[in-house]
């Protein structure tokens, strides 16, 4: 009993720690009594909040994620879908199916963030929206051109399809709402739902960001690294990663024209890319038959797996699905030590080419888009068992959806909040010691002088219009233009001098410091 309690306490402590989001401020050395008091009260409130959150998590979110457990010499990856189907309930077994649509080419998929709806796009112009709960086909349209990718916008009402020449935005009824001509022939589309940005990479290797609320083009960058159709958004910070044929991966944000990070991941072309939902893990696969798992904080390889993947996807719980040919492998890491190993495998009918794998949010289901349609298989332990209706609600009613739409629009993040480490927002900026090089300053000064010289004077009255006076005035003007630059220079000079003065003292060994010149203070 006592042990149990202790265990409970430990569990709670862990949860509280999680919700406290870091260490409390250390008020020991704080001299400001007022601030100390205020912070103490704050910390107290934070503690309470974290505690209640932990309690809620413990008592109100009781569903646990399941997983396959092997007995004896059984191996989890030997368990077939059929044997799973025999064990699970009817509702779950309904989620194992293959939709065979051989004519309209390889299919690609996208789920809404709550996992309720799926958009499927056949390469030959077939767009379909399906309610995954009821398995009803909501709408099916033929756009009569190549469709390369499909992406849901913030909810199921809108989706974007990358078509032959341009991407288009359709609504649920299949009505074309927008044609995004600026994007050009887009290969991949991604939607950043917190920022309401539609990111696309086109044939010419141009990355574009468009705000779907106002229609404003936020960013338009040339990657300069050739054509690519490997693009993925990091759900943690909204950074878009692109995989290139040179084996590099570049990470972009919409407000800078150069990639935030450029890393060489594979010696061959990068074939696919996926991010863990917590944003700290990235999986890449290259043509050289390697899957690499990276730590995106340290930019270091954690693990290298010897298999090929044409498509990769992380589930909410961190399972990694890799699809190649007609074979799908699920890698899992239940130990928590980021050591991924094979968890399940699945092979489609011979000849099916898997084009895209994607885990369905809040369900233990993997959606597979392949050359003959799409399929769905059960992967125990892949989905988040407890949904947060503030974030995504699979059972959303239309009213709730409307509410949420308004809320999410109000809470829309500006594009500049996308950065590698979003926790930096609201902190103190690191001091910038970068100065303009002197040459630039000089050129600026020259330009200013030129403008001062070129200014024309008004014609003054008789006495004041003498050439001598005008010359004098001109001289004064030039001086005035020069002054700020000169002042800046002198200042810099002084500061550097001061530094020089202070430096030798600090450099001196301690025993000799007393012989150094004492400061005036």
């Amino acid at each position: 009993m006592g042990a149990k309690k202790e265990n409970n306490d430990e569990e709670m402590d862990e949860k509280v720690k999680k919700y406290l989001r870091g260490e409390a401020a250390n008020l020991e050395g704080l001299k400001d009594k007022k601030l100390k008091g205020q912070l103490a009260v704050r910390e107290d409130l934070y503690g309470k909040s974290a505690k209640t959150a932990a309690k809620i998590e413990k008592w109100l979110l009781p569903s646990e994620d399941g997983y396959l457990e092997a007995e004896g010499i059984e191996k989890t990856w030997r368990i077939k879908q059929e044997s799973i189907a025999r064990e699970v309930d009817i509702l779950s077994s309904r989620n194992q199916y293959d939709i065979v649509l051989p004519e309209l080419g390889p299919y690609t998929l996208d789920f809404t963030s709550n996992g309720r709806y799926m958009a499927a796009a056949g390469r030959k112009g077939h767009l379909a929206i399906i309610d995954m709960k009821t398995l009803n086909l909501i709408k099916e349209i033929q756009v009569r051109e190549t469709v390369r990718d499909v992406a849901y916008l913030h909810n199921e009402l809108f989706f974007a399809a990358a078509q032959k020449k341009y991407p288009y935005i359709y609504n649920r009824d299949g009505t074309e709402l927008h044609c995004l001509k600026e994007h050009g022939p887009v290969l991949r589309l991604q939607f950043l739902k917190n920022h309401f940005l539609l990111a696309s990479i086109n044939k010419f290797g141009q990355l574009r960001y468009q705000d779907v609320t106002m229609g404003e083009m936020i960013g338009n960058f040339r990657t300069g690294l050739g054509r690519t159709d490997v693009m993925q958004v990091n759900p943690f910070n909204g950074v878009v990663a692109l995989g290139h044929s040179s084996g590099t991966i570049t990470m972009w944000k919409p407000t800078t024209s150069v990639p935030l990070v450029k890393m060489l991941c594979h010696p061959g072309p990068v074939s696919s890319l996926a991010f863990h939902p917590n944003g700290h893990l990235m999986a890449t696969s290259g043509r050289e038959n390697k899957i690499k798992i990276w730590d995106t904080r340290k930019f270091e390889v954690i693990q290298t797996l010897p298999c090929h993947a044409k498509t990769l996807n992380f589930s909410q719980k961190g399972l990694l699905a890799a699809g190649t040919g007609s074979f799908i492998q699920i890698l899992a890491d239940f130990s928590g030590s980021q050591n991924y190993s094979s968890y399940m495998t699945h092979s489609m009918a011979k000849g099916y080419q898997v084009g895209k794998v994607m885990f369905r949010p809040y369900e233990d289901i993997l959606g597979i888009g392949h050359s003959m349609g799409w399929s769905s298989i059960l992967i125990p332990g892949s989905g988040e068992p407890n949904f947060d209706s503030w974030v995504a609600n699979p059972f959303e009613t239309s009213k709730q959806r409307r509410e949420k739409e308004v809320h999410s629009l109000l809470d829309k993040l500006p594009p500049e909040t996308i950065m590698l480490d979003p926790t930096k927002v609201g902190t103190v900026r690191a001091p910038q010691k970068k100065k303009k090089p002197t040459k630039e300053i000089e050129t600026e000064m020259e330009a200013a002088i030129e403008t001062a010289k070129d200014t024309e004077f008004k014609k003054k009255t008789k006495g004041r219009n003498k050439p001598s006076k005008r010359a004098k005035k001109r001289r004064e003007m030039i001086d005035r233009a020069k002054r700020p630059f000169l002042e800046q220079q002198t200042q810099e000079h002084e500061t550097s001098k001061k530094k020089q003065k202070t430096n030798p003292e600090t450099e001196m060994p301690k025993s000799l410091q007393r012989f150094g010149r004492q400061k005036a203070t």
């Binding site: 989001r21 870091g22 409390a24 401020a25 250390n26 400001d32 007022k34 008091g37 205020q38 912070l39 103490a40 009260v41 704050r42 409130l45 309470k48 909040s49 209640t52 959150a53 051989p102 004519e103 390889p106 030959k124 033929q142 051109e145 032959k164 044939k203 040179s246 590099t248 944000k253 800078t256 990070v261 450029k262 890393m263 060489l264 594979h266 010696p267 061959g268 043509r287 038959n289 930019f299 270091e300 298999c307 040919g325 007609s326 074979f327 092979s347 000849g351 080419q353 050359s371 003959m372 503030w390 594009p415 500049e416 950065m419 926790t423 930096k424 902190t427 103190v428 900026r429 910038q432």
Partner: protein, 958 residues
């Protein structure tokens, strides 16, 4: 203070030196004298102490010496008394010298013991006798001596009646009890005698130095007073003699004080002899009175000082007052949220609640209330709504009566209206004049009869006047009028004067006229309204009608020809007739015109709808074909679109191929024309397909793709093709594998391509695990090498771009190369140094980069200016450390990331108040340490333990 002090000492001095009259000694001297006095006192004490010591050994000696000692010691005692009385305020400052006190503690104790014991109670007669002999020794004074002897001898003690003890007191007139300085008043200049008395000279003080001191003092005194040394020197002698003086003092044997003093005789001296005689007490009282009166009043302190003292006192007081608020202020200051007006009851907030409070006051209200709250009605309300209907019932008779009444009233009104209309139409001026007169009369009569109408009339008049006053249109306000007035009316000619008068008259008239005009206009409006009722015509038609009416009137008018006068003359009559006829004709013409106009107007009115109708028709006509066309074009377009889409597909394919490799181009060319023949028969397609199947490698894939798209098109385009479509799947089965291969390729998958070339079809999971062929491996290996190098180069470039390498130091050609020496020396050292520095700096910067250790990563160091606004440039005010700030900011406080219960307290504003509630000033509350925590809870704050403790402790202190 000083003055006082000195005076005090003066008095003491007089006592001591037995100077009978209080002489005013200058301040300085006084100080000196007092010093001297201290000395003598100290000596005395010393003596007493010695006496005490020796007492135990030889008490007899004391007995013998008793009297004389008493004489001397009494003085000391008296002085002590005096000090106790007059110098109370000095006690504080005496304590200042605590060190001294400590050293003299013994002595003091002794003194205390001496003063404690009261000597034998002498009969008052004897005392008076004694007093007479030795007037300076008060009855109190001998206590000391007696006790000092009799501490162990008598234990006998009696209170002396105060009057008696005071009787012979010979205090200085300067004695001042009235004024008391504040306790903490400090005077450091004047050293007090007590100080010296108690501690100045310890018991074990060195006598040698004392003697020296004494001598010095004597000299000093001599110098000051100008008296012979004997006068002072004797004192010492006397001190030594004191013991030997055993005779009681008497008239015949006066004390040395008297003898040696100035010989002044005070009133007291004179009074003493008559003590006990009738009238003595009276006299004495009077004397005392006089003494008191004559006591010199201290000069008041300067105003500034006085006020300062006052302020000090007030400050002390107010400080105490204010500190009691401290805990309240502290509490409010520490509270994260302050609540105002929490306990205010806002009372009723709903309309219903307010309405329920309503009480009928006026008669009308009461009536209504009685009806509304009628029992029947209430009951009906309570029971059932249908009963209310019953209550509403009106009897038939009532209804008929009401209807008749209404009808009657309406008819009356109508008649009245008609009459009024008729009257209004009458144009006769006389009639109107008479009518007006009648009206005025009636009004005046009414005014006389009825006060209300009078009032109304007055009001009307007032209104009119007010209107005129407001506008002042004709009140000589125009420019012209003002100019004339400026010049003076008398200067004008008659015409202008008349004009002015006219205007004034006009002004008077206008007040009335405005009303009439208004009336007429309104009436005409009404009439026109009535006329035009039903027909909504525009103004033009209205005007026309009016004109018509008028002309008709003219026509109908059979003007009576005048029977007399010039006009009755025959030629005039003829002329008139002619003119009339002409006028009639004209009028008729006009009428016709009007009618025509009206007709056209009507036509115009009616036309538009027709026109629009026509237009609509036209439009419809035109539209229909348009739409037809459109649909046609649409169809065409659709057709084209189909074609286009196909061709686009082709195009796309082309592009793809272009990127994949140019070698496929010929194949594509082959196929494209094939595809253009849209109406190609199935057979041809199949043929094509057959060919495709026969073809190896990449060709296959492409053709199959075309085939698929084609088939789809047909499926959609018409029924005729259905059969084909049905056929298609059958055909497809055999090629399924190939198709898969193709579709899997999507993009430029060179690998699968190669596989295709090799003839290995992708199949099953094993395939992906298959080891790549040797050639592939080599290719990959080489490619990897290349990639690595490229990346490194790229990184170097980027680094150089961000931190350019310093230029190599170069001299201008020819400079510094005059001699060999210079050339050998090479570049100047400063240049080299600069270069070195720059290099080192660059390296440092490169080392500091985040990607310095990561070979395969380039992390951009560029600062995003747009994102800068999301960070603070400086630490916000109360924070002093960056860490603390960032830690305090780590928790989100929004509703998304906190449970519902915590959001409120996390986001509570600093001040919470109800709208519309007046915030009352802070009220004093006692600090209750136990209540505090409760209070905080109510306020939604959780004080830390130590904090609340601190607060309570502070409260306790108060």
């Amino acid at each position: 203070m000083e003055k006082q002090g000195t005076c005090k000492e003066c008095s003491i001095l007089h006592c001591c030196t037995c100077s009978p009259s209080p002489t005013r000694v200058p301040h300085l001297t006084c100080a000196f004298l007092s010093r001297c006095l201290h000395l003598s006192q100290a000596l005395l004490h010393e003596y007493i102490f010695k006496q005490n010591l020796s007492k135990a050994i030889c008490s007899e000696e004391i007995d013998t010496a008793g009297c004389s000692i008493s004489g001397k010691l009494a003085m000391a005692g008296q002085k002590r008394k005096e000090r106790a009385g007059g110098g109370e305020f000095r006690n504080n400052k005496f304590k200042k010298d605590s060190k001294m006190n400590k050293s003299s503690k013994n002595n003091k104790n002794k003194n205390n013991t001496i003063s404690k014991g009261k000597g034998p109670r002498l009969p008052s007669s004897l005392r008076t006798e004694l007093d007479r002999l030795n007037p300076r020794i008060s009855s109190d004074s001998d206590d000391g001596i007696d006790s000092d002897i009799g501490n162990d001898v008598y234990e006998y003690d009696e209170e002396v009646p105060e009057e008696e003890s005071r009787k012979n007191r010979r205090f200085d007139p300067v004695e001042n009890y009235e004024y008391e300085l504040p306790k903490d008043f400090k005077d450091e200049n004047v050293s007090s005698d007590d100080d010296d008395d108690d501690g100045g000279f310890g018991v074990d003080g060195n006598e040698g130095s004392q003697n020296e001191d004494d001598e010095r003092h004597l000299r000093m005194l001599q110098g000051i007073t100008g008296m012979s040394t004997d006068a002072f020197g004797d004192k010492k002698k006397r001190n030594s003699i004191v013991i030997s003086e055993a005779h009681p003092e008497s008239e015949y044997n006066p004390t040395r004080d008297v003898l040696q003093g100035d010989g002044h005789i005070t009133v007291q001296d004179l009074l003493d002899p008559i003590q006990g005689k009738p009238g003595y007490s009276k006299l004495r009282k009077r004397m005392q009175h006089v003494d008191r009166r004559s006591a010199s009043v201290q000069a008041p302190l300067p105003k500034a000082d006085r006020e300062k003292l006052e302020r000090m006192a007030v400050y002390e007081h107010s400080k105490k007052d204010i500190t009691k608020w401290e805990h309240l202020v502290k509490r409010n200051r520490e509270a994260p949220t302050v609540f105002f007006g929490e306990d205010v009851d806002l009372g009723f907030s709903t309309v219903g609640a307010i309405a329920s409070e309503f009480e009928p006051r006026t008669e009308f209200e009461k009536k209504i209330a009685s009806l509304v709250y009628d029992d029947k009605v209430m009951e009906a309300h309570k029971a059932d709504g249908s009963k209310l209907l019953e209550l509403n019932k009106i009897s038939e008779e009532d209804y008929i009566k009401h209807r008749d009444h209404v009808a009657k009233m309406r008819s009356l009104l109508f008649r009245h209206e008609m009459k009024q209309k008729r009257i209004k139409k009458i144009k006769s001026k006389t009639f109107h004049r008479l009518k007006n007169k009648d009206k005025l009369k009636a009004v005046s009569v009414e005014m006389l009869m009825d006060p209300e109408t009078a009032k109304e009339q007055a009001r009307k008049q007032e209104f009119k006047r007010a209107e005129e006053r407001m506008t002042l249109k004709h009140k000589n306000k125009s420019k012209w009028a003002r100019r004339i007035l400026e010049r003076g009316l008398n200067a004008q000619d008659e015409g202008t004067r008349a004009a002015m008068a006219e205007q004034l008259h006009h002004h008077a008239l206008l007040t009335r006229k405005i009303n009439t005009v208004n009336d007429s206009s309104s009436s005409s409006d009404n009439s026109s309204d009535e006329d035009d009722e039903g027909s909504n015509e525009d103004r033009a038609s209205e005007l026309l009608e009016k004109a018509k009416e008028k002309t008709l009137k003219v026509l109908e008018d059979d003007e009576e020809l005048p029977n007399s006068g010039v006009l009755s003359l025959p030629f005039m009559v003829r002329g008139m007739k002619k003119r009339k006829e002409e006028a009639m004709e004209e009028a008729k013409l006009a009428l016709q015109e009007y009618e025509q106009l009206e007709g056209t107007n009507g036509a115009v009115n009616s036309k538009p709808p027709i026109a629009t109708g026509r237009r609509v028709f036209g439009r419809a006509d035109t539209e229909v074909p348009d739409s037809n066309k459109k649909t046609k074009t649409d169809k065409m377009k659709v057709d084209n679109y189909y074609g286009n889409s196909d061709s686009e597909d082709d195009f796309e394919a082309k592009e793809n191929i272009n990127i994949e490799g140019s070698r496929r181009n010929d194949v594509e060319k082959d196929v494209a024309p094939n595809f253009d023949r849209k109406e190609a028969t199935d057979v041809s397609v199949f043929k094509n397909f057959d060919e495709v199947v026969g073809d190896p490698g990449s060709k296959t894939t492409y053709d199959v793709a075309i085939f698929a798209s084609d088939s789809w098109r047909k499926m959609k385009s018409g029924n005729e093709v259905d059969t084909n479509v049905r056929k298609l799947p059958e055909v497809k089965e055999p090629i399924a594998l190939n198709q898969d291969v193709e579709e899997g390729e999507e993009g430029s998958d060179s690998e699968s391509e190669q596989q295709m070339v090799d003839g290995i079809l992708t199949s099953g999971p094993k395939e992906s695990y298959e080891l790549p062929s040797q050639s592939e491996l080599i290719q990959l290996a080489f490619a990897g090498d290349d990639v690595q190098e490229e990346f490194e180069k790229d990184k170097r470039e980027i680094l150089n771009e961000e931190n350019p390498e310093p230029d190599k130091p170069v001299l201008l050609p020819g400079w510094g190369q005059w001699t060999d020496v210079q050339r050998k020396k090479g570049l100047p050292s400063w240049m080299l140094k600069e270069h070195e520095d720059a290099k080192r700096k660059r390296e440092e910067i490169l080392k500091r980069r985040k990607d310095a250790r990561l070979k395969h990563v380039i992390i951009s160091e560029k600062v995003d200016k747009k994102a800068e606004k999301l960070q603070t440039k400086t630490l916000p005010y109360p924070f002093t450390s960056k860490e603390l700030f960032e830690q305090s900011m780590r928790m989100p406080i929004g509703s998304e990331s906190n449970p519902e219960t915590a959001i409120r307290s996390l986001n509570r504003p600093e001040v919470v108040k109800k709208p519309g509630v007046i915030i009352k000033p802070i009220k004093f509350e006692e600090a209750h340490p136990h209540e505090k925590s409760e209070d905080n809870k109510r306020r939604g704050q959780k004080p830390k333990k130590n904090r609340s403790k601190g607060a309570t402790s502070k409260n306790k202190k108060q």
